[in-house]
Symmetry: C2
Subunit: 252 residues, 2 copies
């Protein structure tokens, strides 16, 4: 049997309006769609198309499954929320491809970029990522606290705006509190902090505050946390608050 | 006259397939479209819609113009390449809004996220942004070398994957060479480096190399430079090379 193909797709933060234009056609061509259940639920069911839901923790297993199906001739779409390359399935697929079965290497592969949670959260809050920034995932169970600490220290030293992904950990509920305690040692009390929950979805909730006043408990599993640089500013217009980081901003 | 509205839009890296689904409808509703000429050229002309092209360096002036028109009742779309919040027009608009004329504050404003150059470049190269990363703009004439140096040192200390925007500067042609000289002091010779030029466009060019072998002269004004972390890997499948950063990767 000839090898099929694997399209690695990002569905954006939620609403269909933030899909890329190419996404519906790519999904329509797939014989098999694979993903974490809640993301798969966002893909319209099509007659004759097989759907493979899996648990969120089983990323490598999901990648193996996708490559196996594609190596047997299927046209597989594997879906992530946001962008597939940012803390999502693309890296798992390439890890599987590099280290796994020889026949998988014959599969034709394409990664299709999407709107990441960070970009959507920033848009809803203003323009906090208007100058140099970094993205740090707090979720990985394989990542020791020492690594997270090193990255937060480096990000503070460089005065980067920070986008903190996956701030709530079931395995380590104290983690986000530890992060904020460290950030409060490293950065000014008046540093702007934003919590962007379920961006673009009906239960969206945006909270703007300062590092001193921020309640880390606001960060659940659907929340992206933005921590400003020294230059990130806040102001009000038409009864709502916006934040932005000026393009020309230097550093401390 | 009642105030109009201002939609801040990102057109993605180039091809229409990477626009978000909502973008054509938002552009169609605008009475006025404003942007740097080459981005404006990507917007389909519509009868009765006014187009305002401006030079790339005049970001604040462009934001003033957009807010002026909207304050007078126009329905304005201001367009950037990539995502409007990443080194693009959204921050300029909010800076103008905070510091400018009182009447501008009555304008209804929305930022619409897009696919950033970094995400598209990463997708074409594999999944280099699969773990913690940062984005640094090298373009800003207001940014002294000391700030760029501080950010590159911090990014290296944190072992972040780096996306370097706007690496080629007419005013400072040596800048990218200085950056690579510094990175060679800070990071291992075999660190993976990718040059992604004109991603998604007919003249797209992807180059994968190492920090030791990289030729900084490859980075022109249409190039995004990706510099790996210690964990970023490279392998071949179906005759092409992919790079990725494993999700579980720690640091040095």
């Amino acid at each position: 049997m000839s090898s099929g193909r694997l399209d690695i797709i990002g569905l954006g933060p939620g609403p269909e309006r933030w899909l890329t234009m190419e996404t519906p056609a790519i999904l329509a061509l797939a014989t098999d769609v694979i993903g974490y259940g809640p993301y798969l639920d966002r893909v319209r069911a099509r007659a004759g198309q097989k759907r493979h839901a899996s648990d969120n923790r089983e990323e490598l297993a999901r990648a193996y499954n996708a490559l196996d199906l594609a190596a047997d001739g299927a046209h597989v779409a594997i879906v992530s929320g946001g962008d597939p390359g940012v803390f999502a399935m693309a890296a798992a697929v390439f890890e599987a491809l590099e280290t796994g079965e020889e026949k998988w290497r014959e599969v034709e592969i394409a990664v299709h970029p999407g709107v990441s949670a960070m970009l959507a959260a920033a848009a809803r809050l203003g323009a906090p990522l208007g100058h140099d920034f970094c993205a740090i995932s707090l979720s990985d169970n394989l990542k020791p606290w020492s690594v997270i600490e090193q990255r937060l220290r480096a990000a503070a030293m460089g005065d980067f705006v920070m986008a903190l992904y996956n701030p709530a950990s079931k395995a380590r509920p104290d983690l986000i509190h530890d992060c904020f305690a460290l950030l409060r040692e490293l950065k000014a009390a008046e540093t702007i902090v934003g919590f962007a929950r379920a961006v673009g979805r009906p239960d969206e909730k945006l909270t703007l505050t300062t590092l001193a006043a921020a309640d880390p408990a606001l960060a659940d599993m659907s929340t992206l946390v933005l921590v400003g640089s020294h230059a990130t500013r806040s102001f009000e217009a038409r009864g709502r608050r916006w934040i932005y980081t000026p393009r020309g901003s230097g550093t401390r």
